[in-house]
Symmetry: C2
Subunit: 194 residues, 2 copies
C-alpha cells in the first residue's frame, strides 16, 4: 500500500471514530483517548493530523457537510425544470439521511449546539447554494411561493432531520410510503397553489 494512502486511512478512521463517539456521547464527553482507541491509533497521532480537538471536530463537520451536499446535488443540473429539480434534490437528501444516518445525526447535532466554530459553520452553509438558486428561479417563474429561503428550508428540507431523529429513537419507522408522503408535504408547503 502506498505510504500516503496509509495516512489518509488513518485520518479517515479518526473522523469516523469522532462521528460515532460524538453521536453517542456528545462532543465534550468524547475524550481524545477514546477517539484514538476506536481509530486504532495512539492519542498523540491525532495531533499529527489535527491541531487540537476543536480542529478535529470542525474538520469532521466540514467533511460531512460536503459529503452531504455533494450527494444531494449529484443527479441535479441547473437546466431541469424547477419542480423536477426540487424533487430530485429532496429525494437525494432523504436518501442520504436514511442511508447515511450516522452522518445525518452528526450534522443535526452540530447545527443545534455550540459545538462548531462559527467560521466552519458558515463554510458548511455555502455548499447549499444550488438549492437556494433553484428556489430563486422558482420564485421568479411563479412556481414557488415568494418566501424567504429560510422559511422554504424550514418547511421543505429541515423536517427530514426530525423524522430521522424519531426513527433513530425507535419511535417511528421511515419507509418508502412515508418518504413519499413527506415529499408531498414538503412540495405542498412551498409551491404556489393554483
Amino acid at each position: 500500500m502506498a505510504p500516503l494512502q496509509k495516512s489518509i486511512d488513518k485520518r479517515n478512521a479518526l473522523i469516523k471514530a469522532t462521528i460515532e463517539l460524538v453521536n453517542n456521547n456528545g462532543f465534550h464527553a468524547t475524550p481524545m483517548s477514546k477517539i484514538a482507541k476506536i481509530a486504532n491509533v495512539s492519542p498523540a497521532t491525532i495531533y499529527l493530523y489535527f491541531e487540537n480537538k476543536q480542529d478535529l471536530v470542525n474538520q469532521t463537520y466540514m467533511e460531512v457537510k460536503a459529503k452531504y451536499t455533494t450527494y444531494a446535488f449529484a443527479t441535479y443540473n441547473q437546466n431541469m425544470p424547477v419542480e423536477e429539480g426540487f424533487k430530485i434534490i429532496w429525494k437525494r437528501i432523504a436518501d442520504f439521511k436514511l442511508k447515511e444516518c450516522e452522518n445525518a445525526m452528526f450534522l443535526a447535532q452540530c447545527d443545534n449546539t455550540p459545538m462548531i466554530d462559527e467560521p466552519s459553520l458558515q463554510e458548511g452553509i455555502k455548499h447549499l447554494q444550488p438549492l437556494l438558486d433553484l428556489w430563486e428561479c422558482g420564485k421568479k417563474e411563479g412556481i414557488i411561493k415568494p418566501l424567504s429561503n429560510y422559511l422554504l428550508y424550514a418547511y421543505a428540507i429541515n423536517p427530514l432531520s426530525f423524522l430521522i431523529m424519531s426513527e433513530k429513537r425507535g419511535s417511528f419507522k421511515l419507509d418508502k410510503v412515508h418518504i413519499e408522503e413527506a415529499y408531498l408535504s414538503a412540495w405542498n408547503s412551498i409551491k404556489v397553489i393554483t
Copy 2:
C-alpha cells in the same frame, strides 16, 4: 422572606443559570462551578437541590418542557373546531419560541444531543398529548391528512425550531409577517386539500 421561598429562588436561579450556560457552551462544557457562580451560590449548595449534574440538567429539561407545553395549550380547549384549535396552538408555540427564545434553544439542544436521559425525554414528550388528540380528531373529520403524527409534527411544528435557530444566529429576522407565512405553510402541509 419565608425560608421556603428563598429555597425556591435558589433552585430557580440554578435552573436559569444552567439554561444560559448550556445554551452558550453545551452541557459538558458548563462546569458546576460556573453554574454556581452565575446563580450566586456555592458549588456544594447545588447538591442540596439536585443529586448530581445529570439530575440537574434532566430536571431543567422537564421543567422547561412543561413550561413550553403549558404555554402552548393555555388558550386552547377541546371543544374548538380542529382548524381553530390548531391555529391557536401553533401561534402559541410560535409565540413561546419567540418570547422565550432561551428556553426554546435549550429544548432544541436537548432534543438533538445525547444530553438528556431517555426516561426524562419520554416524560417530556407526554405533555404534547392534547395536540396529538386534536390531530386524531381532525383526521376522523377528514380535515387533516391521514399522516402519522410524527410526519404532522415534522412539517407543522418542528420547522419553527429551525427558524428560531436561524434568528438566533442572526442570519434571519422573524417578524409578524414571517410568522403568518410560516403558519400558512404549516397548515397547508397538514390540511386536506379540497
